[in-house]
């Protein structure tokens, strides 16, 4: 990690579950989801200039469920091309390698990280948030002429700690025989998802801009090598929140955030970004949990 977050004075947690969670994080005893092998190899491919389309198709083929899933997504309204996509090779050639990599990566991680039985609505919300953040990140990067290729992954994965914190809390409450309140869950997700996200990033060997985006999206001034990606991710996350729940984060409040100014986005630019709602919706709906 290149920058250092300011040391905040942490109040002593009052909830025993929170104490246990902190202890696990400190000991590195959080059960981290494994990055599926296919996702891991796809990730390597995204950052490999020698990667070829044929290799990607072959890789996705190794996981039949993933292959079927990718073809279904490719035929969804968000991506549908002139003719229906009938094979993986066809999907790769119609949609492009980068987009296919994104789809395949997203599809393969959702099965591992975004799975918490009994908390389906929360997990679904987190998944939609990740997808919408990734999609918005691309639009912001395109508008600001930042790198579009890495923006999606930064947006998609910056909140990867949240489902993992949720998994951990559910496991802890089971062990302790206690009941988890939604209020406490939300509070602890907000409080610990960055720390846990960084553990996941380390475990999965995510690329440096993604790691920085996880660590510094909300404090992007501390980012050193990937400040643009962190700012983009910060805004993408906020726009995703507004998109998914406009009552919880209304447009006026959304527009107040300093990240717009830091990205030099004027009100007209923000209007243009907000006008992408249908496109974002299509991306989110294309990949249900």
């Amino acid at each position: 990690m290149s920058g250092e977050l300011p040391q905040a004075t942490t109040p002593v947690p009052t909830d025993p579950l929170e104490q246990l969670l902190i202890e696990r994080i400190r000991k590195g005893a959080i059960e981290l989801p494994l990055l599926p092998q296919v996702a891991s190899r796809i990730l390597a491919m995204v950052y490999d200039p020698d990667a070829e389309a044929a290799k990607l198709a072959a890789l996705i083929h190794q996981d039949q469920a993933l292959a079927a899933h990718v073809i279904r997504i490719a035929n969804s309204p968000a991506y549908m091309t002139r003719n229906p996509v009938v094979s993986l090779q066809h999907a790769v050639s119609m949609l492009g390698m980068n987009l296919m990599s994104e789809l395949a990566f997203s599809a393969s991680i959702k099965g591992s990280a975004f799975k918490v039985p009994g908390w389906d609505d929360e997990v679904k919300g987190l998944w939609h948030y990740s997808l919408a953040s990734g999609a918005y990140a691309k639009e912001i990067a395109r508008m600001r002429r930042f790198n579009v290729e890495s923006a999606y992954l930064c947006g998609l994965l910056h909140g990867i700690g949240r489902p993992v914190v949720l998994q951990t809390l559910v496991a802890l409450s089971k062990e302790q025989g206690t009941t988890l309140s939604k209020e406490l869950v939300h509070q602890l997700l907000d409080g610990y998802y960055i720390q846990v996200g960084l553990l996941v990033a380390d475990e999965w060997g995510l690329p440096p801009p993604v790691v920085e985006s996880i660590g510094f999206h909300s404090d992007y001034n501390y980012a050193k090598t990937a400040k643009q990606e962190c700012m983009t991710t910060c805004l993408a996350g906020r726009m995703a929140k507004h998109f998914l729940d406009p009552e919880a984060l209304d447009e006026a409040t959304l527009r107040e955030h300093v990240v717009f100014a830091d990205l030099n986005l004027y009100p007209k630019d923000v209007d243009a970004l907000l006008a992408h709602k249908d496109k974002i919706r299509a991306v989110v709906e294309a990949m249900p949990l």
């Binding site: 200039p49 050639s93 492009g96 395109r142 090598t225 030099n264 004027y266």
Partner: protein
């Protein structure tokens, strides 16, 4: 709406033209405000144009110097090098530039405002800040210097991912293996030669029969041969009918002659268009001509006498930062009734290809159109000791004189340090120097400047022959 403020001069845009206009006004004791819509001072030149591209070029040159020493160092550039590595000095360079520009403005008492400007009347400029607030600025004189942006055409959709323009080309994560460059102007040629030197397989496609068609053809051919030696290819006199990402791994360009060119990335550099749409020119009584440009006189003055335009927004190729600076100074000098000078007639053209190209005054073809039998003296860098020592023999200096072989009319150079060397010629042209001046002057040895003397001696030889022939006749 904030209360309005009054200024003697409102300058819109802080690129080279705007900056110099603002400083010229402030030095004359005027109350000046400079408005910039981006976060930093300097315009595209600093953040997406001259400074970043020249920083990458410098990396390529360092690599070339290492290659020239390949008897000592054995190695090659990794093709998957992240662009951030190649541009590692960029942040420092930009910050240093920002600092010095901000200091310069502050020192001269120029007020700087961050926001977007539009005209609301001939004397009123509305400033919209990033938070959406607006304020009206009243101005005695207005200088519009909003710069330009890359041209786009429907046949070539720029997605900033696979098909990039000069604003987004440096946002690539990795150095691509292959790059198609559309266009044959300075930006296209500069990037083509930089990327070729970095080991990228470069193909340049242009409608014109030659790259840089406004430059001396002999000089351009040296650049062209140099790029071909680096593995670059030229498809000239070709029209692109369609460009599309094949969805797999290549950008595919289809040419009118049926040829298909594939590459990993494409740079679209088909010229630049002025940033004028957001200015609301009509509100000030201004309108565009049939080419979509804002008409101005030699001093940048529009049909509304107190409104001037300067720099790239005038749409005059080649868009040079040095010309823009001069435009800015000239506009404000004219507005304030200060002496304007005639230096604008002698702005050198510098193109940062590898090798560099520079020109001032008339070239061989232009001189031939005006004079019957102008003389041309040549100094190939192979005949210059410094060229041999540095291994930079790929160069040529041309002096163009009137038919008597005495009066210097122009200088064209291709080769290492061309953009520096040209200033010797510029001074000579401005002083109306006789060609013998270069022969009588003792240059340091070994230097590239010696090329002036070699070329002048070439002219001397031709002059004598011509005199002998005249006598014999």
């Amino acid at each position: 709406m904030m209360p309005s403020s009054a200024y003697d001069i409102v300058v819109v845009g802080s690129g080279p033209a705007g900056q110099k206009a603002a400083i010229q006004g402030a030095k004359a004791g005027k109350k000046v405000v400079l408005i910039e819509q981006e976060q930093g001072i300097g315009g595209n030149c600093v953040y997406r144009g001259t400074i970043p591209s020249k920083t990458l070029r410098e990396t390529a040159l360092q690599f070339e110097r290492l290659k020239r020493s390949n008897e000592v160092f054995e190695g090659r550039l990794r093709l998957d090098l992240p662009m951030t590595v190649l541009l590692h000095r960029l942040d420092e360079v930009v910050k240093a530039h920002e600092c010095y520009m901000a200091d310069q403005l502050a020192r001269n008492g120029v007020t700087y405002r961050h926001g977007r400007a539009r005209l609301v009347s001939p004397h009123e400029v509305q400033l919209e800040t990033i938070d959406g607030a607006s304020q009206t600025l009243l101005a005695e004189t207005i200088v519009l210097a909003t710069g330009s942006r890359p041209c786009s055409i429907p046949e070539v959709p720029v997605d900033h991912e696979h098909v990039l323009d000069s604003d987004s080309i440096l946002s690539m994560i990795y150095l691509p293996r292959s790059l198609t460059v559309l266009g044959g102007g300075p930006i296209a040629c500069e990037y083509a030669s930089t990327f070729a030197l970095l080991g990228v397989e470069v193909t340049l496609i242009d409608r014109a029969k030659s790259p840089l068609p406004f430059m001396d053809s002999e000089i351009v051919s040296v650049f062209q041969r140099g790029l071909e030696r680096q593995g670059g290819r030229f498809y000239l006199g070709q029209t692109v009918t369609e460009v599309a990402w094949d969805g797999v791994s290549s950008v595919v360009a289809r040419l009118a002659n049926g040829m298909v060119v594939k590459s990993e990335k494409m740079l679209v550099a088909l010229g630049r268009q002025p940033n004028i749409e957001e200015l609301n020119l009509e509100a000030a009584g201004l309108s565009l001509d049939e080419k979509g440009l804002l008409p101005v006189n030699d001093h940048g003055q529009t049909v509304v006498p107190h409104i001037y335009a300067a720099g790239d927004m005038l749409g005059r190729p080649p868009a040079l930062a040095s010309q823009a600076m001069e435009d800015g100074r000239r506009a404000v000098s004219q507005a304030l009734g200060l002496p304007v000078g005639d230096s604008a007639n002698q702005v050198p053209i510098g193109i940062y290809t590898i090798p560099e190209i520079a020109s001032i005054g008339l070239d061989e073809e232009q001189a031939a159109a005006r004079y019957r039998g102008p003389l041309v003296g040549r100094a190939p860098f192979t005949e210059i000791a410094k060229g041999q020592i540095t291994g930079a023999c790929d160069g040529l200096l041309k002096l163009v004189t009137d038919p008597s072989g005495e009066r210097l009319l122009g200088v064209q150079i291709v080769g290492e340090n061309a953009t520096e060397l040209i200033h010797l010629g510029q001074m000579a042209l401005q002083d109306g120097a006789n060609i013998d001046r270069f022969i009588d002057t003792i240059f340091g040895f070994p230097t590239f400047a010696e090329a002036y003397r070699v070329a002048a001696l070439d002219i001397l030889g031709q002059r004598r022959k011509r005199q002998e022939l005249a006598k014999a006749a």
